[in-house]
């Protein structure tokens, strides 16, 4: 990779930040019910001011109630959810990649997604309420990772390797559990519901889902942002990192807890959305280099932008919505292939 001046990176980061805001606002304009951008901005501003202070601050309503309802009750939760999930999966992915010293790792390595999928399938099978499904997914996502971590602690092998193996085992157990539930589920209602849920979609996301997921996602995101310099040292060998003053065991545990909170909360409200946590970190490494001081925030922004964009495509292009998980795979896999092929040349010099 060529020499990069810090100012070049700073300029790219500014462009990315601007792009995020453009995509965020632009997504409100897209959809069957068109709302002008200036109206959107004022509706959002008005909504925010009212939420914060309860006053209207003299903003004259030059929009209709229907427009306000579309923006605030339908599009806002969905776009916020896409932004939060995109950022969460990307940041969790990039943190895991550093920790496991492997650029091919994504945030469900330790079983967070498969655990959450099982939890959701179980709740749907038992015909629980929507809220219970979300909560069960979140809970089983956390439980799966906790199991994998505790098992790996008992192993005498290298900690990273034993974690990967324990994660694979737990993932495969929960996948089998999900398959078993699908097998015995009622094929009229439950099986389609489970299958559709597992595909990953933001169609049914409402304000309460965003409120449910926002707290764990922020609880994971903020510590990782604060610790991002130290994550650099986890990419070194165990002996190097420890000799440089890092308590690797504790830092790893923090990264796992944060990444798992974010992944489980995301999967709980959206189902399985693949590839984001893998492709976005790669893209950011090319644009911003390896240093987590810039890599981590840029992953959050690019991941959020990417998922808002793909979700907007998912809800506007066809009348019958394409589940987001399918689209991210369609977009993600070719991009990833391209990166792998072009990355090969780079290492050849």
């Amino acid at each position: 990779m060529a020499f990069r001046s810090p100012s070049g990176g700073a300029r790219r980061f500014a462009v990315l930040t601007a792009a995020f805001f453009v995509i965020f606002l632009g997504a409100f304009a897209a959809g069957r019910y068109a709302v002008r951008v200036d109206k959107t901005v004022c509706i959002l501003l008005d909504g925010a001011l009212r939420a914060v202070s309860g006053a209207r601050w003299g903003l004259a309503a030059f929009w209709t109630d229907a427009e306000a309802a579309v923006v605030l009750n339908v599009r806002l939760p969905r776009i916020l959810a896409a932004a939060l999930i995109g950022a969460a999966l990307s940041v969790a992915g990039v943190s895991y990649q550093g920790m496991f010293r492997n650029p091919m790792v994504s945030s469900d390595l330790l079983g967070a997604s498969t655990g959450a999928g099982f939890g959701a399938a179980l709740a749907l099978f038992l015909s629980m309420s929507y809220l219970t499904v979300t909560f069960s997914a979140f809970f089983f996502g956390l439980a799966a990772v906790m199991l994998a971590y505790l098992i790996s602690r008992r192993s005498r092998m290298d900690q990273t390797l034993s974690m990967v193996l324990a994660g694979m085992m737990i993932s495969s157990l929960f996948t089998a559990g999900t398959s078993l539930i699908k097998l015995v589920a009622d094929t009229e209602n439950q099986l389609p519901a489970i299958t559709y849920w597992l595909m990953g979609s933001l169609t049914s996301v409402r304000g309460r889902d965003v409120r449910f997921a926002a707290l764990p996602i922020l609880l994971g995101l903020v510590p990782l942002l604060l610790l991002r310099w130290r994550i650099n040292l986890l990419t070194l060998s165990e002996a190097e990192a420890r000799s440089m003053g890092v308590d690797t065991r504790r830092l790893r545990l923090i990264v796992i807890v944060c990444a798992t909170l974010m992944t489980a909360a995301s999967v709980a409200i959206s189902g399985m959305i693949g590839w984001v946590g893998l492709v976005i970190p790669h893209f950011c490494r090319i644009l911003f280099g390896c240093d987590y001081r810039r890599l981590l925030p840029s992953c959050a922004l690019l991941g959020a932008s990417f998922l808002i964009l793909v979700d907007t495509i998912a809800r506007t292009v066809t009348t019958a919505e394409i589940p987001l998980g399918i689209l991210t795979s369609f977009v993600g896999a070719p991009v990833f292939l391209y990166l792998v092929l072009s990355g090969g040349e780079q290492n050849g010099d």
Partner: protein, 263 residues
Amino acid sequence: MGIDVRSLSFSYGGAPVLRDLSFSTRGGEVIALLGPNGVGKSTLFRCLLGFLKPTQGEILVSGRGLSSYSRRGLAREIAYIPQSHSPTFNYTVRESVLMGVTARLGPLESPTEEQQSLVMQTLSQLGIAHLAGRGSQNISGGERQLMLIARALVQDARVLIMDEPTANLDYGNSYRVMERIARLGSEGYTVLFSSHDPNQAFRYATRVLALKGGTLLADGAPARVLTEPVLSALYGVSVAVRSVAVGGVSHTVSIPCGAGENQ
């Protein structure tokens, strides 16, 4: 001040690898650790870095028990330079070296501007400032070794432990890296490096520790203690030690010449 090893014994559960080892180091010493394969050189390093707990005996660092140090505290005393460094991600040389300052930072802090310029200064001192923006995967083995030395220097510990610093280097690069290491001694650092080449001890070390069967076979100035019988006993081959004058400077060299009787 330095490392003080007192009757150190270590075993992985079976037979002891290190037995009743004692030595202490002073600032400015460049110490070569010699010994046959599997004799416990790496085990000794892992004990000194606090990765392994001694079965018996104790290690004092700057007069304080090693086990009382936090990871961060110990990193301010002892820096470690691994034999090889194979980065998973292509950090630039500047970023790789900057990681050395972490022991000077609080848990949530990032490096300061001052520390960034310290990195550039250190790279200049080692003559590799032109590599600052290059990827650490895209430089030569010798350059990477100098990069690791730079990283240890910005860590600002007074004791440097180097695991076979020239193991993966060609003839020329070995020379350049060893010359630099020898100079660190005169700058006041304590350097402890392991090596398989007695000639490196003769040429660059002020002191040699020869490890055999878990104990010290010899400890002292290389030219004095690395005699033909000691080297022969150490490696199980007969070794001839000669003086060679090159350009008016006399060098001591060892040459293996025939399988010994004890192996």
